[in-house]
């Protein structure tokens, strides 16, 4: 246990350094690209004095290091500044829009793992036979197109031609749900409103599946490839020699050692969904962070850009830490070597 806490501590430290680096980079890039944020915010008819005044308010007239120091001291107080686009504190905006995106990404990640891994196991178990071929063709198909293409295709097929699912939005308008966590699936459950819960699930299925499809293919391919390697190991032959059932060998003896190398990539795929979610959200008019993010980038809304990027970087890092801990938990070699090292 002590080793896992040590590992966690090291990862947190590294993550903190990465976050500082990301913030510096984005801070500089956002200010270097052409276009004066104050002028864009105030519009073409603004007077020169007004623009000067806003620039002074935003500290844009000072040097970059001074501006960054100002940003850090605000950040330490939990203040990300005010968005010029919504005229509200950026933290308020993020708290409002982030849960919808996270809800979508978590569900897509869950679908990816729950469908992708079993498909990979199935393919490896029946290597070279028809289930294997089928899974490989499906996997190739799903990874060949990005999430937003699948979003359009699924929307056409299952919301337009065959209207099984709603075409856009998070929930039917008739439902009034009190906001507690911002995750509609959880909020409707907390409110005990079964109809609203059903509607939220109904709305999220298509976008979540569209977002998860390429991840499913990736996870299946990776699991299959690693398991095929594992199947060549002497301990698998030994398991056969001891008469264990082939399905059991696949699920337990071959899958567990293969999961460890797959997990890192699956974790990265999961985090990458956060980026892909932007496009899927756009297709399904999903009121998440993406619409906000795109809008603020186009308006050069500096504070909002910083806030959005930082929160995405933070989510990425948290997912990576969770994956590292999972690997340490699954792989006795890591678990014990870290203990010896610390």
């Amino acid at each position: 246990m002590a080793s896992v806490i040590g590992l966690l501590f090291r990862r947190l430290l590294i993550s903190f350094i990465v976050l500082i680096g990301v913030s510096m980079l984005i801070f500089a890039i956002a200010r270097v690209i052409p276009g004066d944020p104050a002028r864009i915010a105030l519009g073409p008819n603004a007077k020169a004095e007004q623009i000067e005044q806003l620039r002074a308010e935003m500290h844009l007239d000072e040097s970059l290091p001074v501006q960054y120091a100002q940003f850090l001291s605000d950040l330490s107080r939990g203040d990300l500044g005010t968005s010029l686009y919504t005229n509200r504190p950026v933290t308020t905006d993020i708290v409002q829009f982030l849960p919808a995106t996270l809800e979508l990404v978590f569900l897509a990640g869950l679908i990816m793992v729950l469908v992708g891994l079993p498909l990979g196991i199935l393919a490896a178990r029946y290597q070279g036979r028809w289930p294997d071929h089928l899974v490989r063709i499906l996997a190739l198909l799903t990874v060949s197109a990005p999430g937003f293409v699948w979003a359009v295709i699924l929307m056409l097929l299952f919301a337009f031609y065959l209207p099984l699912f709603p075409i856009a939005g998070r929930i039917a308008d008739i439902h009034e749900v009190q906001r507690i966590t911002g995750f509609l699936i959880i909020d409707t459950l907390l409110a005990g409103n079964v109809a609203a819960f059903g509607s939220a699930i109904h709305h999220i299925i298509l976008p979540a599946v569209a977002l998860s499809l390429s991840g499913i293919g990736q996870a299946a391919r990776l699991t299959r490839a690693n398991m095929v390697e594992t199947y060549k190991k002497p301990y698998i032959e030994m398991a056969h020699a001891y008469g264990f059932f082939p399905n059991r060998i696949a699920r337990s003896y071959a899958f567990k050692p293969s999961l460890i190398p797959s997990l890192t990539i699956i974790g990265l795929d999961f985090a990458a969904m956060l980026g892909n979610a932007f496009l899927v959200e756009a297709v399904f008019a999903w009121p998440g962070l993406s619409r906000y993010g795109v809008a603020v980038i186009l308006r050069k809304d500096l504070n909002a850009i910083m806030g959005t990027v930082l929160i995405i970087a933070l989510t990425f890092l948290i997912v990576n830490i969770i994956v590292d801990l999972l690997i340490a938990f699954l792989n006795p070699r890591i678990r014990y070597s870290t203990r010896e090292a610390s």
């Binding site: 002497p234 301990y235 020699a241 001891y242 264990f244 059932f245 460890i260 792989n331 006795p332 014990y336």
Partner: protein, 289 residues
């Protein structure tokens, strides 16, 4: 007859899209209860595939064509169903592999793997019973601190330790036949000798028949009661160990024995890749028991 294993005219070939490769050309081999029999030959002579046919593993590969009879306790492995063959493995017969450390699953503890093996014989064995039997089996193979070993992973133990665990596991379900495919070749020589001695003692105590597959004549001479020499898928010579070593008759056996490096330092002897002499007919020493 009380033969544990009786192989008659066993042939094996692998068919690919274009061709058929014959690997075994009609093998006859017999092992009596409690007898230690060695199968000796060079790499690629067909030793290991023979073991895999006895286990019934090769019959499940689609490219393998197996003919002949492999009677195990009177039942022909070749005509059993897949399920019946699987039922024999790990219970009535078991196997020890070359490299003990990579033959144990790296992500499960020794205790977990041992329990799985015990459950092959007795599916509903209780946790406490299991633990007791594991500990007893490990003590039998002279493992110090058996409780610690049970909660260890294979990578935390030495190769010799893992080999002892493998021997204990292989004999835990009281099989009537143990297949040992070049056991401990991956270990260093002194540890290999130690574990072979232990294995010899164990199978003698348990009265387990052994098919010992090896290319190492010195080891075979120590271990086996009877020897079969295999060359390119044919048995070329067989007989009781003492008789065969005293009077190797078949040209291939003689070449194989001449190939053992001498300590007197006459350089490395050579076995020709192929020689017409090696195709001489089979020689059997003495009467088969």
């Amino acid at each position: 007859m009380s033969s544990v294993l009786n192989i008659n005219n066993l042939t094996l070939s692998f068919k690919t899209l274009m061709q058929r490769v014959d690997v075994l050309h009609g093998i006859d081999l017999r092992i009596e209860a409690g007898e230690k029999v060695a199968l000796v030959g060079e790499s690629g002579s067909g030793k290991s595939v023979t073991a895999r046919i006895i286990l019934g593993l090769l019959q499940e590969t689609r490219s393998a064509v197996v003919h002949g009879s492999v009677l195990f306790d009177g039942k022909d492995i070749n005509t059993l169903t897949r399920k019946e063959r699987a039922a024999l493995r790990g219970t009535a017969m078991s196997m020890i592999f070359q490299d003990p450390s990579s033959s144990l699953n790296p992500v499960f503890t020794i205790g977990h793997q041992f329990t799985e093996v015990l459950k092959r014989r007795e599916a509903k064995i209780s946790q406490a019973d299991c633990k007791k039997r594991c500990l007893k089996a490990l003590i039998e193979v002279a493992i110090p601190e058996p409780a610690r070993v049970l909660s260890s992973y294979p990578f935390q133990l030495s190769g010799g330790m893992n080999q002892r665990v493998m021997i204990a596991m292989a004999l835990a379900n009281q099989p009537s036949l143990l297949l040992a495919d070049e056991p401990g070749t991956a270990l260093d020589v002194s540890v290999q000798a130690q574990t072979l001695k232990l294995m010899h003692k164990m199978v003698t105590n348990h009265n387990t028949a052994v098919l010992f597959i090896s290319h190492n004549l010195g080891v075979v001479r120590e271990f086996a009661d009877r020897v079969y020499v295999i060359y390119r898928g044919n048995i070329v010579e067989d007989g009781p160990t003492a008789a065969l070593f005293a009077n190797p008759t078949h040209p291939y056996t003689r070449a194989l024995m001449a190939a053992v490096p001498r300590i007197t330092g006459t350089g490395l002897p050579q076995v020709p890749e192929f020689s017409d002499e090696f195709l001489a007919p089979r020689v059997s020493h003495g009467v088969n028991p």
